[in-house]
Amino acid sequence: MQEADLSRELSERVAEAARRGTPLRLVGGGTKAWYGRPVAAEPLALAGHRGVVDYQPSELVVRLRGGTRLVELEALLAAEGQWLACDPPRFGAETTVAGALAAGLAGPGRPYLGGLRDAVLGVTLINGRGEVVRLGGAVMKNVAGFDGFRPMVGALGSLGVILEVCLKVAPRPASRRALALALPREALAERAEAWWRAGLPLAGAAHDGERLRLCLAGSESAVDEAVATLGGDEEDPAYWSALRDQRLPFFRDPGAPLWRLLLPPGACPALPGEGLVEWGGRQWWWRGEAPAEAVFAEAARLGGQASRWRGGDPRAPVFAPLAPPLLALQRRLKAAFDPEGLFNPGIHYPEL
């Protein structure tokens, strides 16, 4: 694995940007550049700051530099029979750990395995004053001070440069198998919930409009038992990494914008277009031509929320609007980390 510690150079770059009042666009692996609102600012390359700082397999903790490639980390963990215990997507081999954390995205296992939000123990950050601050730590339980590291997950880099990340890891499931069942989409939410409550080792439950698909991960005996109970057709588990990384034909289809909708399980959006649903009915990918306002309104009607994932008018909103007092508080929190508004300005909302 390549190693390089660029903390000093990066802190100096940030301090310099703070002096000049020059906003920065944080660039990791560049595999999610399309996500969020466009940021017009000087790029700050972070992928070179990489390598594992400390990995204690017996402690189930890894501390690494933000630019470490996610696939490299996973290979390192796999060599010790471990994994991240969650399945953040990578839209290319260059996806970095800090980028995955900043995006806060989760793969098909989210309802069953949790996400990076649950795995992060600490973050070392360069804040907008150019200071290096260590938030959280490397232990399982730590309630000293504010958990300032937690909002880094999903902040899209707007709070600072993630220099180091400390993550919980877990023993890798011994077995992983995939099934396809001839059941209608309406059955997904209820069935998946019932299977999970019955103790089946689910790591994914989706419906592509044709068949209900399941990913099972756990001990060999538990997975085998689930496969025997469920029936259906066994298929290549590679389906699930393709779904996670959006390499399925559904995602390749060009043209209409792609939306991500979080809905109460069982709800189905009444929108023009076609959908693929996962997370046991909670997360929808929806491709269709509808004005942003109509998609946000439909999601809200169903008690859910929408975000524009890819495509569509780049000037249109990406995320559902926030209540004004909440947006104001988010702005103040950003300013607490980044008083000059240096990092990825406007990536969530024009005002943030």
Binding site: Q56, S58, E59, L60, G81, Q82, G104, R110, D118, N127, E131, R134, L135, G137, A138, V139, M140, K141, N142, V143, A144, G145, F146, D147, G148, R150, P151, V153, G154, A170, P171, E193, G199, S219, S221, A222, E225, L262, L263, P264, P265, R282, G303, G304, Q305, F319, A320, L322, A323, P325, L326, L329, Q330, L333, K334, A335, A336, F337, H348, L352
Partner: protein
């Protein structure tokens, strides 16, 4: 951030009159006897009479109170059941003690979505009790769960015996209604499991009432485990027991609970609830495993083998609930059994990497000898969260001070070993000074900036959680990073 002269001047007759108008008739406590009931939380060493006590019954009343305090510049300390162990709910002498325990009317279970909408004043255990008919429960289970409230659990990011497998409060709450100091009502997070923008929901967990007042939350419920087994193992040496803990974690088994008691604690418990253990037992380990029957059996075999490899010479395995309850009663008896051995006890709380547990315990024993005090250990070993209990007698000249210095030394040891000054009890009023050991000046300034983003005038629970840089300099407990002195801007004495 102690009481400023301004704050004193602002809790005027006019303010009290306006406060009374925000509350139901019984909701305002002015008389000294009534206020006395709130002078401390479960950390009884710290006591202060609150200026006034307010007991709202509705969210709108909380909004009105906070707005009023903001207008008048009066400090507010929120309190749930008062079971906190770090003085987080220690009142402000010239401020409002906001008792939220009557926000307990809301407890709605959505069994299909496995969610519950819960008022901040609802007791932790009441959530699981309401969910039980649906085969569900709320996973965080601090030892105070019979009394402690959800609002307090969120403020402290409470853990408990089972957080090793099921996470802390923050991992089990999906949304919260926060009232800000200016009375604004905000929804953080969402029952959908995430919300757009910055994750303020995660940030308010463990923020000890410094950022706002949580009045309601949506929590996730889990299916009750289908099968459960409790193992009890006795060891001749506490270090072997600690090594067994590290080995179980390293083997990739995630027990639902993994609790350690050292020799002193075992002797204390045996004296109170006779279990007939061999009297030369150096340490006890309790390990709870849950999941499907097959998983539990497989894990139980694995753990039993590891326990034997590490020298366990007394093993019990309980499959039926009554036997399991008996084993857990041993752990639950530990603090009371220890407490009756001395006039006073100080329960510490720190956290260390699990592979360092044996070394940490050895160092604590040495420290206790050096300070001439007895220390008992009974704690959440699986997540490296130690709770040394220091025995002392405050009637003896200087012994309280000695106990407190030993406590501080143990916390510094935790930081040196790569851990934290608090694993689950919080910083509160007790550990403000110890924060100087763990954080640099820039980090403390970052905490202050976060605080100011929510509460620019510092009215919410002032004086807790974050030490001033001057205080750290006075103490000389400065966190030195990379060999550099962290507070070059401050004068040294």
């Amino acid at each position: 951030m102690t009481a400023t002269p301004q704050a004193e001047a602002r809790m005027t007759a006019q303010f009290l009159q306006a406060l009374a108008a925000c509350l139901p008739a019984e909701g305002l406590v002015l008389d000294e006897a009534g206020r006395r009931a709130y002078e401390c939380d479960a950390l009884t060493l710290f006591r202060r009479l609150p200026g006034v006590v307010a007991i709202p019954e509705e969210i709108a009343q909380v909004q009105a109170i906070l707005r009023l305090c903001d207008d008048y510049g009066v400090p507010v300390v929120a309190r749930g059941a008062g079971t906190g162990l770090s003085g987080g709910a220690l009142p402000h002498a010239e401020g409002v003690l906001l008792n939220l325990s009557r926000l307990d009317a809301t407890l709605e279970i959505d069994p299909d979505r496995r969610l519950a909408r819960v008022g901040a004043g609802v007791r932790n255990l009441a959530i699981s009790q309401a969910a039980a008919p649906h085969g569900l429960y709320f996973a965080p289970d601090p030892s105070s769960q019979v009394a402690s409230t959800l609002g307090g659990n969120i403020a402290e990011n409470a853990g408990g015996v089972h957080c090793l497998k099921y996470g802390l409060t923050v991992n089990n709450v999906v949304a919260a209604t926060l009232i800000t100091i200016d009375g604004e009502r905000l929804t953080l997070g969402s029952p959908l499991g995430e919300a757009p923008g910055l994750d303020l929901l995660a940030l308010i967990h463990g923020s000890e009432g410094l950022l706002g007042v949580v009045v309601e939350a949506w929590v996730e419920l889990l299916p009750l485990p289908r099968d459960k087994r409790v193992l009890l193992a006795g060891f001749a040496e506490v270090t072997d027991c600690a090594e067994a803990v590290a080995a179980i974690i390293a083997a990739g088994v995630v027990p639902a609970g993994l609790e350690l008691m050292d020799r002193a604690a075992v002797v204390a418990v045996e004296a109170m609830v006779q279990q007939g253990w061999p009297c030369d037992l150096g340490a006890l380990l309790i390990c709870e495993l849950d999941g499907s029957a097959a998983e539990v059996t497989a894990q139980s075999e694995r753990v039993t083998a590891l326990l034997k490899t590490h020298g366990a010479d007394h093993l019990e395995s309980a499959t039926d609930p009554a036997e399991q309850a008996r084993i857990w009663s041993v752990r639950k008896a530990a603090f009371p059994a220890i407490a009756r051995l001395a006039p006073d006890t100080l329960v510490m709380d720190g956290s260390v990497p699990r592979r360092r547990l044996a070394a940490v315990l050895t160092r604590i024993i040495a420290l206790a000898e050096a300070y001439g005090l007895r220390v008992f250990n009974t704690f959440h070993a699986g997540d490296g969260n130690i709770h040394p209990v220091i025995l002392f007698d405050s009637r003896l000249e200087g012994e309280l001070e000695r106990a407190e210095s030993l406590g501080q030394a143990i916390l510094r040891l935790c930081v040196e070993e790569g851990g934290s000054i608090t694993g689950e009890h919080g910083v509160g009023a007790e550990k403000v000074d110890a924060m100087c050991d763990q954080f640099s000046a820039a980090e403390l300034r970052q905490f202050e900036a976060i605080k100011a983003a929510f509460d620019p005038r510092g009215l919410l629970n002032p004086g807790k959680l974050i030490p001033t840089l001057n205080r750290c300099a006075e103490l000389g407990h400065l966190h030195v990073k990379d060999g550099r002195f962290p507070h070059p801007e401050l004068p040294r004495f």
